[in-house]
Assembly symmetry: C2
Homo-oligomer: 275 residues x 2
């Protein structure tokens, strides 16, 4: 099985393995790229994580995640900025190619999504010098609009790019099929992201019908309604040729299967459906 061009977001096997085990299992199957989550790194230890990644020659296509800039008060927003700076430092230690940002939703008790978006732009701006000093690109990940209230008030590639353009260099987008497949402006905005050289990551995951849980029922490629080859052809036409990163949260299905089965299925579906 050829895993060239494939990356595994380690959330996909978070219930099966710790970070070290996951990296080893990936390497054993010829997978040469990963994206770890902060809680996985904390648990395995930052230095241990960096070492096992380095020892296996793993490309780190991203680090999940920074963001969550929105808060009811200035104290909350300041705390988020501190947390994001720490995430940038960790990403640098791990050799990650970008820090993925899930920007935060509408603060509790508020009904002001427009104000929340302003907080997001201000938050990213506040960490940008730190990111540039660390040579760590920031990848805004627009999330599906069903997360607009509680996770991310940036829900389209267009919105993410508008913020990126406003802030300047080193800010771009992580484009996840799961979050944006429905967007009527998908093609135009991927083209725009390419022209501006702001595509920092391409995540893949399928949308299941029915979707039984809003967070933890994401699908393996081929089990839902997304056209992965068509999607990838837009991404490549826009000039991004980095790995496709599988990120699947699946409490009732893939998180319950043996990790090796999950990885082998990722490789198989990726080869059959995604390139």
């Amino acid at each position: 099985m050829n895993a060239e061009g494939l990356s595994i977001n380690l959330a996909t096997v978070r219930e099966q393995w710790n970070l070290g085990e996951a990296v080893e299992a990936c390497a054993k199957l010829g997978i040469k790229a990963i994206d770890p989550w902060r809680d996985q790194v904390t648990k395995f230890g930052l230095d241990n994580s960096a070492k096992v990644i380095r020892d296996h020659g793993m490309q780190v296509t991203g680090y999940c995640r920074g963001g969550m800039f929105t808060a009811v008060d200035a104290k909350g927003r300041a705390a988020a900025i501190g947390e994001n700076k720490r995430a940038i430092d960790e990403a640098q230690t791990l050799g990650a190619e970008c820090l993925v940002l899930v920007v935060g939703g509408v603060p509790q008790g508020s009904t002001d999504i427009i104000g929340a978006r302003t907080q997001v732009a201000e938050g990213i701006n506040a960490i940008l010098d730190h990111a540039r000093a660390a040579k760590m690109p920031l990848a805004i990940e627009p999330l599906h609009p069903m997360y607009a209230a509680d996770r991310a008030c940036v829900n389209t590639i267009k919105q993410a790019l508008d913020i990126a353009v406003q802030l300047g260099s080193d800010v771009g987008v992580a484009i996840d099929t799961y979050h944006v497949w429905w967007d009527p402006e998908l093609k135009e905005q991927i083209e725009r992201a390419g022209r501006e050289k702001r595509i920092f990551g391409h995540h893949i995951c399928d949308w299941l019908v029915p979707t039984k849980d809003m967070l933890l029922d994401r699908g393996m490629m081929g089990d839902g309604i997304i056209d992965f080859k068509g999607f990838r052809s837009m991404i490549e036409a826009a000039g991004f040729h980095g790995p496709q990163e599988v990120e699947i949260f699946s409490a009732a299905d893939w998180w319950k299967r043996p990790g090796e089965e999950v990885l082998k299925t990722c490789i198989e579906r990726y080869n059959k459906l995604c390139k």
Copy 2:
């Protein structure tokens, strides 16, 4: 309690009452407008429904629903067109001001959402003469993108307006806060809908945090994160002054309460938060 300017979509009390009981309960509380669903009308009888509505002088702000134009084959699409023509006739008998269209998702086994959107435009076009003959405006309701796969591949006001403009007169939009509150182009597209005189309905319902079910956990105004006054001011600035129609699917909460409590809460929250 003043219910002037309030309409009740009868799905909101579908578990408590049949159509006749619901109309009577609304009238008793001073509510002067409703929007019934087809299954409710079928169950109570079309002529009986028309009579009870007429007898109580009820305004019928819409009829739910036509649509579901997408299908795997031509036979399925033709069946949908026949069904929509019947819905138009029923809407006319009931004196409804528009037929609400939930357009349909990506057909089973397909990954082609762009093709599905073409089917939608073709489907509406195929019923348009029938609708015009019946003097029944067609209101495309963009649904939240979390329904793009299985219920409606039209998910923004912009998309709905683009189809409406393409098809000509008598096609517009039903704008439901629940479905579009997150849209980054909300203000501009409501303005555009107003300029083109294509706002045919304004539905209200809140987005709960957390949302526990993707279909049946919608919230009473004030229990979630939507700014109803701000939303209404955009709608009125765009020239629409028709009733605000409460449409709440709530299997675990409002459908379990006494119908009268639900209606009284609708009136109270509407007066406090929506105008």
